[in-house]
Subunit: 324 residues, 2 copies
DNA sequence: CTGAAAGCGCTTACAG
DNA sequence: CTGAAAGCGCTTACAG
């Protein structure tokens, strides 16, 4: 198929050993400059590229980092995180590959890739983590179930997000909270803990539990949800994320209600559309850059066998705009 | 590190050949049922998983499909496409891996992964395509520069998108077109051809060329752009995508202008936020599901050495809402 | 300063 | 019905 190191050796009249030494710049081996030049020239001329597969088999590992996303629609937030992560890791010669949690089982994936590190933005089954580690793969993550307190894993508390939303609304004098979820079943992993946080915060504040509505991202669905909230006297809505919050705003608009006069609305993520909404949307930001940097550092520390970095103290932040 | 086929062979008292035959269900080899059971049991007990790397080296290929995204912020559109593609390919035992066009050079990537197929949602350099093909990798794509008419590649014309936007605006009686681009340099690859389409369509309609403004996704920046358009008598704006269009709407709102009364606005992508905007946004949809299915089919056809499927006839569609 | 040889873990003709 | 052996392409002790 391709040209191998044996071809380069033959073309430059040396052994494969020497080719390997020259091309890898193996330290501790001083090849004569003439030989070096001959090898380099031959490699160049033949268009030689080493087989990463053979190298991986020999070395037992690759320079790949596999990022596993949860099985839900990823938003701009995750895109940004991936961008930063790829940049940070590229400096260490690592390539980032992303799996979208769809298709074949995860086990097939990491076995096929033999990555150096698996970065999980989703929760892994404990057996899976064990199997990966046993295969010599580092496992790093931002998210595991709250029960699995693996010290190597840093989890942004989804509950805390919901809590912050309610605390902000309460500070604004709101007393009857609505929760806007989605009908997308894939989001349950994130939606449930956020709702739990909302519920807990309502209890702490001495309020009734949130009035839950799940909506599609369209105006009719949002309008129905708004109606159900109004019937119950809701004066503030915490939404699963900014997209849902935008739907809520659309529903309120359709009903002729004022924001925040009649109803306050708060989202999660601070997507670009949030600041462009009418009115601009108050939202909980997750400081993705900070998280990406932490993940990159954790990955690199794991690689170096160094102590894991300290997780960033507070990545959650309420961005106050005009909707509350 | 891990348990190998030799371990399984030893544990079950057979040769590695037999282990391989049993575990792969190699056709044309009839292993006695007793032996088969012994091997299976030993593999199970030892937790054996074949080394994908060794297999790849031996077979010369993997069951991986590498999707290369362009180096720009991917939106929900691409997410949906990836989801569909992964589902469609999983049925053929193929795993999808995504590269976000960041970090290390593409060449390192595909060499490291040795995928069966590379699916490009970005344009590849011709040498790169040649190198991949020479390495026995199939190359499939939705996008190549209009100059490279590779029959194996199906390109959604970015120019056509811009053209459709203008034709719609002209049909609505608009005569002075503004173009809303972005300051994000990563988007140039897509933005330029779309703008070229807008310019061409303006010429066809006997209009002056578009008045170009590039904006950030925030209200102040959008407001400045709106001002420049108004100074030039612009009565319709074609935006690079929906996000930019939302910014334009925000700028118009800030300026107290009516949409579409004073200025019509049209985006691209039909993201969920488009229908939730105030007013709901007219946009060009790219029929992502159709494209994903086509890509999956093209990938599978390439695998089977079959004739490539016919590209879908018209994936572009103007979704008319209230902003025009 | 450079080469012959072993071995990473698998699959697959080829023999029996 | 099953096994010994070669080989995928690389790297790296070990010898010279």
């Amino acid at each position: 198929m391709g040209v191998t190191s044996a071809d380069v050796a033959r073309a430059s009249g040396v052994s494969r050993t020497t080719v390997s030494y020259v091309l890898n710049g193996t330290p501790g081996t001083s090849i004569s400059d003439a030989t070096r030049q001959r090898v380099l020239a031959a490699a160049e001329r033949l268009g030689y590229a080493p087989s990463a597969t053979a190298r991986a088999l020999r070395r037992g590992t690759t320079d790949l980092v596999l990022v596993v996303l949860p099985h839900w629609p990823i938003g701009p937030v995750i895109d940004t995180l991936l961008d930063h992560l790829a940049d940070d890791l590229a400096e260490r010669g690592l390539s980032v590959l992303v799996h979208h949690g769809r298709g074949r089982p995860l086990g097939d994936l990491w076995r096929a890739v033999t990555p150096r590190t698996v970065v999980g933005l989703t929760a892994f089954a404990p057996e899976e983590v064990r199997a990966m580690r046993q295969a010599g793969i580092q496992v790093v993550g931002t998210r595991l179930d709250d029960e699995h307190h693996d010290p190597s894993v840093y989890a942004v508390s989804q509950q805390q997000i919901g809590r912050l939303q309610v605390e902000h609304l309460v500070a604004r004098g709101r007393r009857r909270i609505g929760w806007a979820g989605t009908t997308d079943a894939r989001l349950v992993e994130f939606a449930e803990p956020r709702l739990a946080g909302v519920t807990a915060a309502c209890a702490s504040a001495g309020l009734a539990g949130p009035l839950v509505a799940r909506l599609e991202l369209d105006v009719p669905s949002a309008t129905r949800a708004v109606q159900s909230w109004r019937d119950a006297g809701v004066d503030a809505v915490a939404a699963y994320n900014d997209e849902v919050a935008l739907a809520v705003l659309a529903g309120l608009r359709r009903r002729g209600l004022e924001v925040p006069g009649d109803v306050a609305v708060i989202g999660v993520d601070d997507v670009p559309a949030a600041r462009l909404a009418a009115p601009p949307l108050t939202t909980v930001s997750q400081s993705i850059e900070v998280q990406a940097l932490y993940l990159a550092r954790a990955t690199i520390a794991a690689l170096d066998g160094a102590v894991p970095p300290t997780p960033p103290p507070d990545v959650l932040d309420v961005v106050v705009r005009s909707s509350t």
